[in-house]
Amino acid sequence: MKQLRLFRLAFVILVVGLALFYVFPLDKNINLGLDLQGGSHIVLECVDSPHAPVDSDAVNRVVEIITNRINPEGVKEPVIQRQGERRILVQLPGMDDPQEAEKLIGKTALLEFKDESGQTLLTGAYLKNAKTSYDRFGRPNVILEFNEEGAKLFEQATVRNVGKILAITLDGHEISAPVVQEPIPSGEASIVGQFTLEEAQRLALLLRSGALPVEVRILENRSVGPTLGKDSINRGLKAGIVGLFLILIFMVIFYKGFGLVADLALLICLLLIMGGLAILNATLTLPGIAGIILTIGMAVDANILIFERIKEELQMDKTFRASIEAGFSKAFRTILDANVTTLIAAIALLYFGSGPIRGFAVTLSIGLAASMFTAIVVTKLILELIGQHFTKNALV
């Protein structure tokens, strides 16, 4: 019995130690959601238009193009992901301006072919495709394919500029400056030069990225600036700290010595929740903070259940140790049933919820698990240790 208790004590210390190790420093180990650190969550849908029906390839190209537009902006860990048949999810953490993301995605990069005098001869609108290939000497090159109208314009452009440079610009920046070798009537041209394969691939991609191949509609946009995010964190912290203190005081007033035990259990529970978030690499959102604050209130419930039972046992003139034993065994099943049912609601949210709400369900679930652990293991251990040294009603 005594050995078993030592083992449990060691286990609790290990768990608390692990949580401490994983939690600190807080700002590095807890992932903040887009609503707290600022950023944009955007869902796009590719839509059919008369000239450009949506196919799988088109959606992939949209993903590619958006990735290319975002990468140079220096966004940390962006997510650009195809979702299902026609939807694309774009998540950009840490954007300074909530307006920026949509502009970045919505912008139509302009691809132009210019002669030496700087006059635009044709644009990317006429370009059907651009891909890498090899010429007969095995050197990588970039093949351009124009549509019918583009082929005519390109023919005129090449006829007039043989031996001269035909510059290719993207949004005004020159990305390639090939020299026209001969007139090209077929609508298919190749840019040859001193490319490595990678350079050729990159050029082809940039050329393809000129314009989105299909019409894209924004279905959902949730963008939060960093100021509001910081403000939310501060408000959440304030509410959490005030709420925590109110409960700590409440428990001591109503349950005296037991209250102190519950307070200690509550603080450990809070640490375990944060540790759980860190270990599971879960994301803390604004509703997630609300979940933690709510859990603080509900976490003491298990302790209250136990103490009320112990009080009843004490009223029946049992010894302190016997009352603890009986109180726990009677409260255990109630705690289990009560928490499992709450967990069912949390799982429903986890399954059907989106984005920030999932954050709420996650903290609520972790909180339920942590509060059950602290009540059943930590509180019991503390009470038993106290019961060893005091015989009667030490805490009432």
Binding site: Q99, L219, R222, G243, G297, V300, A338, I344, G353, I357
Partner: protein, 318 residues
């Protein structure tokens, strides 16, 4: 300190009063629901939300913003003042260009500001979210019925679900009456209420199940009352400890205030229904199905011998 000690309130015999109070509140809520419905936020209705913070030196009122918006044909927008210079504007779903037009007019006619938040939800997403919210609540209810039926009996599950339905109806009714916006966090709050209220009900039913094994000869109504009274101190104290941090969230939570409001209402209603509705409802179900005796005997049959020992001392004084 004990707020509640050794009470002996006859809940079952006063059930008509409780049913009447709840029925009235639900009726008013339903009238409001039929009359004015819900004030769906952009999460479900679709639309655009813009949160702005005007710079300190700018003096601005809701009316001024409304005037500016009216001049660019957006008169139907709702404008909410958060703190001195912070505003939330809700408009129909608009394109980027139109939004920039709004910003340009505001900047020109009122003054410089910072854009804190932009949310735009299209009608397709809104519809999908409505469906998901509905499914989440249904899924939670089914999960709960199954769990309670396994752990207790179907009659307990039925009584719990009636109490839960009561809580959800009251909460939704109040949301409709005070015209609070229905957003995704509000749905989360309602599901939390479901979980919380159930938690309370389960604690009481658990006590009831235990008492049924101990008190073989007492009438069911008396055992139900005893169980509610025995759990009363715990139920009230837990409600208080849960309400404390939510009050803090209500006062300091900023955009989470509405969420906290629903929780405040819901936890109060949930605590009331666990005490005054769930137990009497279980008694009603059990006596109406007239299998009361049989069911109780079934429970008793499953009890191992030593558990049937009577307690050394009665806890409730008569």
């Amino acid at each position: 300190m004990d707020l509640i000690k050794n009470t002996d309130i006859k809940f079952v015999s006063r059930k008509k009063v409780f049913y009447l109070i709840s029925g009235l509140i639900i009726l008013i809520g339903i009238i409001s629901l039929l009359g004015q419905g819900f004030n769906f936020g952009i999460d479900f209705a679709g639309g655009t939300l813009i949160q702005l913070d005007f710079e300190e030196q700018v003096n601005v009122t809701v009316a001024e913003i409304r005037n500016v918006l009216a001049d660019i044909n957006l008169a139907s927008s709702t404008i909410q003042s958060l703190s001195n210079n912070e505003f939330i504007i809700r408009i129909a779903q608009i394109e980027l260009q139109e939004r920039e037009k709004i910003f340009a007019s505001l900047q020109e006619r009122i003054g410089p500001f910072q854009v804190l938040r932009i949310e735009m939800v299209g009608p397709i997403i809104g519809q999908a979210l409505k469906r998901l919210a509905f499914l989440a609540i249904i899924f939670a209810f089914i999960g709960i019925i199954v769990y309670i039926t396994i752990r207790f009996q179907f009659s307990y599950a039925l009584a719990s679900i009636i109490a839960l339905g009561h809580d959800v109806l009251v909460a939704l009714g109040i949301l409709s009456i005070v015209r609070k916006e229905i957003t995704i966090p509000i749905i989360a709050a309602i599901l939390t209420i479901v979980g919380y209220s159930l938690n309370n009900t389960i604690v009481i039913f658990d006590r009831l199940r235990e008492n049924l094994k101990l008190k073989l000869r007492s009438p069911l109504a008396e055992i139900v009352d005893l169980s509610i009274n025995q759990s009363l101190s715990r139920t009230i104290n837990t409600a208080l400890t849960t309400l404390l941090p939510i009050l803090a969230l209500y006062f300091f939570g900023g955009t989470l205030s509405d969420f906290a409001f629903v929780l405040l209402v819901g936890i109060t209603v949930g605590t009331y229904s666990s005490i005054c509705i769930a137990g009497p409802m279980l008694w009603d179900i059990k006596s109406k199905t007239q299998k009361t005796k049989k069911n109780i005997n079934q429970v008793r049959k499953n009890v191992p011998e030593q558990a049937v020992k009577p307690p050394k001392k009665r806890i409730v004084k008569k």
